[in-house]
């Protein structure tokens, strides 16, 4: 049984609640214990680092210190939180002067002992994958999947010790292992414009459509992701595209935890499949997953 400090982040408590449910339920099946970081705060997302460097580092420093207090490595499901935490830890560890400044801002000592890992990394260790294979009740056989990594899970390469920043393969390998077809497609790491979703809608929409078009052209029946911002941006905005532009992509966007859960026999409810804007169930039904 492996054990991690778990940092859900704001999205998993609101717009991405199905990611939270599926993560918690899957963790039990995989024998990974996730203990919530007590009293965690928002990582500042794309706003703090664009506004004040001290603010960004102090918000993330507080969370890193809380995790360190638990004596555990940190597992982070949101790609954006993951990048902020990992990147802050790197800056603070490498620069003692900066660390001292942030200690002053926090008004307390700052411990940084917890390594920061993405949930994808935690759920795809040899041990976890072995458990999954032994417990598999179903297979993704017949399902064509576009594995979408987005930006912050794998970039920049200097900060990432997991997967490749230009051609990541961890999600693809996972799909293949579960019996599905991971399609070759060129937009694995294209930006979906999530951070501009509410402030530069027209530009963000161009990026979303590029990704959806390419997934369709590649023959995908669904997209999978490990980022709540990508998921909600790609899923929710399809409603508007259909309404305003008459373009009906009908492309379900699932979390990798939901597909893993299905393979392990977890039910629709436990995985929050009914919470998506584009209902994934018809596609899943076709291949006998629900």
């Amino acid at each position: 049984m492996s054990k991690y400090a778990y940092f859900p982040g704001c999205s998993l408590h609101s717009t991405a609640r199905e990611y939270e449910f599926s993560t918690k339920n899957l963790s039990r099946e995989l024998g990974v214990e996730l203990v919530d970081v007590p009293d965690w705060n928002c990582c500042g997302a794309s706003s703090a680092h664009a506004t004040d460097r001290g603010l960004d580092l102090a918000l993330n420093g507080r969370n890193l210190d809380l995790a360190a207090g638990m004596g555990l490595d940190l597992a982070v499901p949101c790609a954006s939180c993951y990048r902020r935490l990992a990147s802050s830890r790197k800056s603070l560890t490498e620069n003692p002067e900066l660390r001292q400044q942030i200690t002053t801002l926090l008004g307390q000592p700052l411990a940084l002992s917890s390594e920061v890992r993405s949930l994808l990394e935690v759920f795809t260790t040899d041990e976890a994958l072995d458990k999954m294979q032994r417990g598999a009740k179903k297979s993704l056989s017949g399902l064509k999947v576009a594995a979408y990594y987005g930006c912050l899970l794998v970039r920049p390469h200097k900060e990432t010790h997991f997967d490749d920043s230009e051609n990541p393969v961890s999600l693809d390998k996972l799909v293949t292992l579960m019996g599905g077809e991971a399609l070759p497609w060129p937009f694995k790491t294209e930006c979906c414009g999530g951070s501009l979703s509410f402030t530069a809608e027209d530009s963000s929409r161009v990026l979303i459509e590029r990704i959806l078009n390419m997934a369709k052209e590649s023959g995908a029946e669904c997209i999978i992701t490990a980022c709540p911002l990508c998921q909600s941006n790609l899923d929710m905005r399809q409603l508007q595209l259909a309404k305003e532009a008459g373009r009906d992509y009908n492309m379900p966007v699932l979390y990798f935890t939901q597909l893993m859960g299905l393979v392990l026999g977890l039910g629709e409810k436990a995985l929050g499949l009914y919470r998506h804007f584009i209902d994934p169930r018809p596609v899943l039904q076709k291949v006998g997953l629900v």
Binding site: H13, R53, L106, A200, Q240
Partner: protein, 187 residues
């Protein structure tokens, strides 16, 4: 040899200190502009921004749309053959624009960041509903945002009540010592 000494007169030296990134390292290969997903919407591509900084056009850069249309996707920093952290520089430019007071009132990205951070300062975590209401009231885009907000509420994806963490005092302290005091700390 690249000329890496930066003139103090134009303010670019201050930018270099703030970001730890020196635009004079850039040799104008164009790779950042080629890979930038938002190039199509920008007034100056990231490569042009680098050139403008090399020749001291900081004012124009600070008032460009590019700085606020950058989505922080880090494609540029990932690919730069000269190891220039272009995305880090974009962050520093936004921070500098705040400090110099050169952010337009109708800058929607900036307004969003402000409202977002206000929510964190008050609750310690993001309160989506509060943010959405503040945002659409300010922008007059209520009906458009409802297209997104209502389905969200229906799917149980937005909480009605704000989250509240215990450490709110510490969070307020951090804000008071950084953003609200002009952000001298931690730079």
């Amino acid at each position: 040899m690249l000329q890496t000494v930066v003139s103090e007169e134009t303010g670019v030296a201050e930018l270099v200190r703030l970001s730890g990134v020196n635009p004079n390292q850039c040799y104008q290969c164009g790779k950042c502009a080629g890979g930038c997903p938002l190039s199509f919407a920008m007034d100056y591509s990231p490569t042009v921004i680098m050139r403008m900084l090399q020749v001291g056009m900081l004012e124009q850069v600070l008032s460009s749309k590019t700085v606020w249309l950058c989505a922080s996707c880090k494609t540029c920093s990932n690919r730069c053959p000269q190891d220039v952290d272009v995305a880090g520089l974009m962050d520093a430019l936004r921070i500098m624009a705040w400090r110099k007071g050169s952010v337009d009132r109708d800058n929607r990205q900036a307004a969003f960041h402000r409202a977002f951070l206000h929510s964190i300062k008050s609750h310690g975590r993001l309160y989506e509903l509060g943010l959405a209401l503040a945002g659409s009231a300010a922008s007059g885009r209520m009906t458009k945002d409802l297209d997104v907000g209502l389905p969200m509420l229906r799917k149980g994806k937005i909480k009605l009540l704000p989250p509240r963490i215990k450490g709110r005092r510490q969070i307020k302290r951090i804000f008071a010592l950084t953003m609200e005091s002009g952000g001298e700390q931690g730079e």
